[in-house]
């Protein structure tokens, strides 16, 4: 027998309340049918005696206290899963929107997932080459890592994310690659840009897309990354795919969460975001990783736009505390025309130290990257001194640092969107640039490694005009 509750007792924002319900579980899904036959979906978010409060995914527009009847499905929000999902496009809550019909599920899973037991995790060690010098050289992406891109409106984060997806490859490839792409509150053309980019790379058949575009309901936006990660976990841990998950834009997600929280009347915390923002973000980001005895992996590249380019804003701040590093884009570099405009100093990959070096990339990699960081940070000192006393007054050494800084930005960080540099090229490039400075300035590298790689004046090769 199908039990329906007729009418509602309260409406507020995207929330509806029902009185007199029995046998309803926390987090259970419900179907709400309007008089005109329209069907919407909701989820139980609060129970108090015989009163239940539900969030309605599609919003409450057009619902009155009398025109809706509610049926509780008896199970939590789940997602139909199958390898058939590869190559398909879904909306924010996992319903197919590419007109190819429903998928035939192998399994249905609760989209909230459960925490990976820390003792079951396999510590990520194999790096992913992106062909981008600033990332490969200085903030290496590791399989099973969560490495967000911190950007700002108008910068080229989407291009960068797309380039990572196009070029990503693993040394000694084992198992197949798959991409799960979740768009949250992005514009239609951004989603289209990604789709075309996947198509050009011939990867469309390996991509699962979940699209919650800017005009789609915000309640669905809260579920979008959960659906995407459930699909990713399924492909990785049941079918052995190495899944790269791109989540864009996490800022829209957090704003949706804030909107939803305030409609529930919760006590706001920093900048009006709910107090549980950290736990909520963690429940997404921590779904990256590898598991002992399972072949696949889930690697996350979330993209977020920092409001007003402020890295201390709660969204980038809490993200940075959860993720294993970050790639930070910088507006000044962007304005100088440098692509990708990656600001090296605040960028970091926490897992890098265990995934590079002998046996992984090249023995000198870690020291070299440390030296580049240290040297580039001195460039900033020299620049700020130059801005006070003028470039002419600088010491010879400081002038060399200035020259290094400019060359590092234009030759190392800067590269073409189609340029796929090998790790050898990237590291050699780093050494060539360091030769602009006297040996004595290289204080992060031991004498033997310097001996091996440092060639005086090697930098001149970078500036000689190409022959022919």
């Amino acid at each position: 027998m199908r039990l329906e509750y007729i009418g509602l007792s309260e409406l507020s924002g995207s929330l509806i309340a029902l009185q007199g319900v029995k046998d309803v579980a926390f987090d259970e899904m419900a179907e709400i049918t309007l008089e005109n036959g329209e069907r919407r979906y909701g989820r139980v978010i609060l129970l108090d005696g015989d009163k239940a409060v539900l969030q309605v995914f599609e919003g409450t527009k057009g619902i009155s206290l009398e025109n809706a009847s509610t049926h509780f499905t008896g199970k939590p929000m789940d997602l139909a899963l199958s390898t058939e999902m590869l190559g398909r496009v879904f909306d924010g809550v996992g319903r197919p929107i590419d007109g190819l019909g429903e998928i035939f599920p192998e399994e249905r899973r609760n989209i909230n997932g459960s925490a990976i037991n820390p003792v079951s995790r396999k510590y990520p060690r194999s790096c992913i080459y992106t062909g981008i010098s600033a990332i490969d050289g200085c903030a290496t992406l590791i399989r099973g890592q969560k490495l967000p891109i911190f950007s700002g409106s108008g910068m080229k984060h989407n291009e960068l994310a797309a380039q990572i997806v196009r070029q990503a490859k693993v040394p000694n490839q084992d198992g197949e690659f798959a991409i799960v792409f979740a768009a949250m509150g992005v514009k239609n053309d951004t989603a289209d840009f990604f789709r075309r980019s996947f198509e050009e790379a011939g990867a469309l058949s390996r991509v699962v897309m979940f699209l919650n575009l800017a005009a789609d309901p915000i309640i669905e936006r809260i579920l979008t990354p959960r659906c995407a990660l459930t699909a990713a976990e399924f492909l990785a841990f049941e079918h052995g795919y190495h899944v790269l998950v791109v989540l864009t834009d996490m800022t829209s997600y957090c704003e949706a969460l804030r909107e939803f929280s305030s409609s529930k009347g919760e006590i706001p915390s920093r900048k009006g975001f709910p107090a549980y923002l950290y736990s909520d973000l963690a429940s997404l980001y921590e779904r990256a990783g590898m598991i002992h005895g399972r072949p696949g992996s889930v690697t996350q590249v979330p993209v977020l736009t920092m409001p007003n380019d402020d890295i201390t804003h709660p969204i980038p701040d809490l993200t940075g505390y959860i993720t294993e590093g970050q790639v930070v884009l910088n507006r000044e570099l962007d304005q100088k025309g440098i692509y990708p405009p990656i600001s090296i100093l605040p960028s970091l990959s926490r897992l890098m130290k265990d995934g590079v070096g002998k046996g992984f990339t090249r023995e000198d990699h870690y020291d070299l990257s440390n030296q580049l960081f240290a040297t580039y940070s001195k460039v900033q000192d020299a620049r700020s001194l130059a801005s006070v006393i003028g470039e002419d007054e600088l010491s010879e050494l400081d002038k060399r640092y200035l020259a290094f800084g400019d060359a590092f930005e234009s030759k190392f960080i800067n590269q073409n969107a189609a340029d796929n540099r090998s790790i050898q090229e990237t590291l050699d490039l780093g050494w060539k640039l360091l030769s602009m400075l006297p040996k004595g300035e290289l204080d992060r590298i031991d004498a033997k490694t310097i001996e091996e790689h440092y060639r005086a004046d090697a930098w001149k090769e970078l500036f000689t005009p190409k022959k022919g």
């Binding site: 579980a25 926390f26 129970l47 108090d48 005696g49 015989d50 909230n112 997932g113 459960s114 925490a115 990976i116 037991n117 820390p118 003792v119 079951s120 995790r121 510590y123 990520p124 841990f237 919760e266 006590i267 915390s269 920093r270 709910p274 107090a275 549980y276 736990s279 963690a282 429940s283 980001y285 921590e286 779904r287 990783g289 399972r294 201390t312 709660p314 701040d317 940075g320 505390y321 294993e324 970050q326 605040p346 926490r350 130290k353 870690y366 960081f373 240290a374 940070s377 700020s384 001194l385 006070v388 006393i389 600088l394 010491s395 400081d398 004595g440 204080d443 992060r444 031991d446 004498a447």
Partner: protein, 589 residues
């Protein structure tokens, strides 16, 4: 245990309302729902009690049963905790993995200790002995490093009326029975239970007079922490809090390390588990894991269990302290705990104070850090709990409530610095904002154990760094070239101190751990060069001449070149300094 029956009335995330009686006391443990999820009473009013549940509450329904367990949240303590890894309420994660696979399921009611494993037990009492709290009645080797000593719990005393012979016993078997004055019999086993929010008693607090030697130069030299002290490591993300905590857990000279991953990353705990199993303790050549207990309540595990995890860690630390061990508790990160408090407080609809944190934040922090201390135990031995708490300030801003309130209750403050981390200067402890109030208390110890020069060298080092900071203000405006030679020397020496001494490479086999006597030699050499150079500069010889000899660069790299067990190599450096000074001297005759 008598179980009173109640009924679930309402559910809001991890907060559940139960009705059906008035028997529930604050902080009592409650089993909630058909699956028996574990929770704790956080509020009681006339017709309902509020319970915070340590597991995901999806699927709970009003009308399902809830049972009061009649006692506050307690954990079982006993042999088998070392080398193990637990969640925030002391459930062993390895057993959870066996039961539910790689993803953590709910409602698993698993005892913390292996119930079957037999330990090689020595009984230290015989029938007729009179025992009071803290008396040793049994012991067993828990790991090759640690002897587990079972002591009569607080509040229990009497005459031994039964004692088993030495032999193999598991944690559930009764070893000794005590009969008190009133004729009540108290069975004593290898394990005992203790409520996590109650500090374990001790005989008295003793003054802190010896350092926790960490082998990290900037800590041991400039900002030492005493055994039984409390320290905070605040820093923005990426500044190296976890790295520093790992280094301390690996190399500090505590007997036992309790490493608490509170609301942090899963991969970090996996890494800690791997590294601690592989690395050997420099003193005993045993795997570090043999002296380590890990508690992992990662950021995506239930928030209420995260709140409890710091108390679980502290209770375990105190338990080993009571056996006469020096325990160090690394809590990474206390901010996640504070945020758990805030999150739960929000669900309880309490009035928020600063930044949305509950008004009782300061008193909770105080209660926690005050459980650190150097004590005489009930048994009469000396033991200590040292607490090192990482703080993750919002936006890296140290003026936020958790950092500020923590500062009031710790006496060592290692402030990590974003700019240093960006320049890959690690540990990125800023020598200008950090402090240690223990430095003076520990002077007699350093004088007696390392040499009286140590404290004098430290003083000169911090003087030089201080002066450099003042000079850098000027350099930023006019450049370094215009400074007089003696000031250039200060900048050069300070650079040597920063690069050659304060900076320490955790991944370098030699540099990762440095004993105190080696730290002293390094300081002495740096200061020797400084005073020699000062003399040269005072004769108006330009400093650049001395720099050209390369002696500054050479000293900067000595940290990598001199092994901990071949310190005679330092003599070569002393000679090299003399030689460089002589060269410059001769060239100017």
């Amino acid at each position: 245990m008598k179980q009173a029956q109640y009924t679930i009335h309402g559910i809001n995330g991890p907060v559940v309302k139960v009705v059906g009686g008035r028997g529930l006391a604050m902080m009592d443990m409650v089993s909630v729902g058909d699956e028996g999820l574990i929770g704790e009473v956080v509020g009681v009013d006339l017709d309902a009690a509020t319970v915070q549940v340590y597991e995901d509450t999806a699927g709970l329904k009003p009308g399902q049963p809830a049972a009061g367990l009649g006692a506050p949240m307690a954990i079982t303590l006993g042999p088998g905790m070392l080398t193990n890894i637990f969640d925030g309420i002391a459930r062993p994660l390895k057993v959870i993995e066996e039961r539910s696979g790689p993803f953590i399921a709910r409602g698993l009611n698993i005892p913390s200790l292996d119930q079957e494993k037999a330990w090689d037990v020595t009984i230290h009492v015989k029938e007729g002995d009179t025992l009071s709290p803290g008396a040793l009645y049994a012991s067993c080797p828990e790991t090759p490093l640690i002897l587990h000593r079972c002591l009569v719990p607080a509040g229990v005393s009497g005459r031994v009326t039964k004692a088993v012979p030495n032999g193999a016993y598991n944690v559930t078997e009764v070893l000794v029975e005590l009969t008190d004055d009133r004729g009540r019999v108290h069975p004593l086993k290898l394990s005992q239970s203790w409520p996590i929010r109650t500090p374990r008693p001790m005989a008295e607090r003793l003054p802190i007079d010896r350092p926790l030697v960490t082998g990290q130069r900037i800590i041991d030299t400039l900002f030492p922490i005493g055994k039984g002290g409390a320290a905070a490591i605040p820093g923005p993300f990426g500044a190296g809090k976890t790295m520093t905590q790992h280094q301390l857990a690996k190399w500090s000279d505590a007997d036992i390390i309790v490493y608490l991953g509170c609301g942090e990353r899963g991969n970090e705990m996996t890494q800690a588990l791997e590294e601690f199993s592989e690395l050997l303790d420099p003193k005993s050549q045993q795997p570090l894991l043999n002296r380590t207990i890990l508690i992992a309540n990662t950021s995506n595990m239930p928030v209420a269990a995260r709140e409890a995890s710091v108390y679980t860690g502290m209770t375990i630390a105190e338990y080993y302290r009571d056996m006469g061990y020096h325990v160090a508790l690394m809590a990474d990160s206390t901010s996640r705990w504070a945020e758990a408090l805030r999150e739960i407080s929000g669900r309880l609809e309490e009035m928020p104070a600063e930044e949305g944190f509950p008004a009782y934040l300061a008193s909770r922090l105080a209660e926690f850090y005050e459980r650190a201390g150097y004590v005489r135990t009930l048994e009469g031995k000396e033991g200590s709990v040292t607490v090192i708490g990482a703080v993750s300030p919002q936006g890296g801003d140290f003026s936020e409530p958790v950092t500020q309130n923590t500062k009031r209750y710790v006496r060592t403050f290692w402030g990590l610095d974003r700019a240093l981390a960006y320049a890959r200067h690690f540990p990125s402890i800023n020598w200008l904002t950090s402090y240690s109030e223990y430095a003076d208390d520990l002077k007699p110890w350093y004088d007696a154990h390392v040499g009286s020069e140590f404290v004098a060298c430290r003083f000169q080092l911090s003087q030089l760094l201080q002066k450099e900071a003042e000079l850098m203000e000027i350099v930023k405006l006019i450049g370094a070239d215009i400074l007089p030679e003696d000031q250039k020397l200060i900048i050069e020496t300070a650079r040597l101190i920063r690069v050659g001494f304060l900076q320490q490479n955790a991944y370098h086999a030699v540099d990762t751990y440095v004993p105190l006597d080696k730290q002293l030699r390094m300081m002495q050499l740096i200061l020797k060069l400084h005073s020699g150079a000062k003399e040269i500069v005072s004769r108006s010889i330009p400093l650049s001449q001395l720099k050209e000899t390369g002696i500054f660069e050479e000293l900067a790299k000595m940290k990598y070149e001199v092994p901990n067990d071949h310190q005679e190599k330092f003599d070569d450096y002393a000679k090299a300094i003399d030689e460089a000074l002589r060269q410059v001297d001769e060239a100017n005759r």
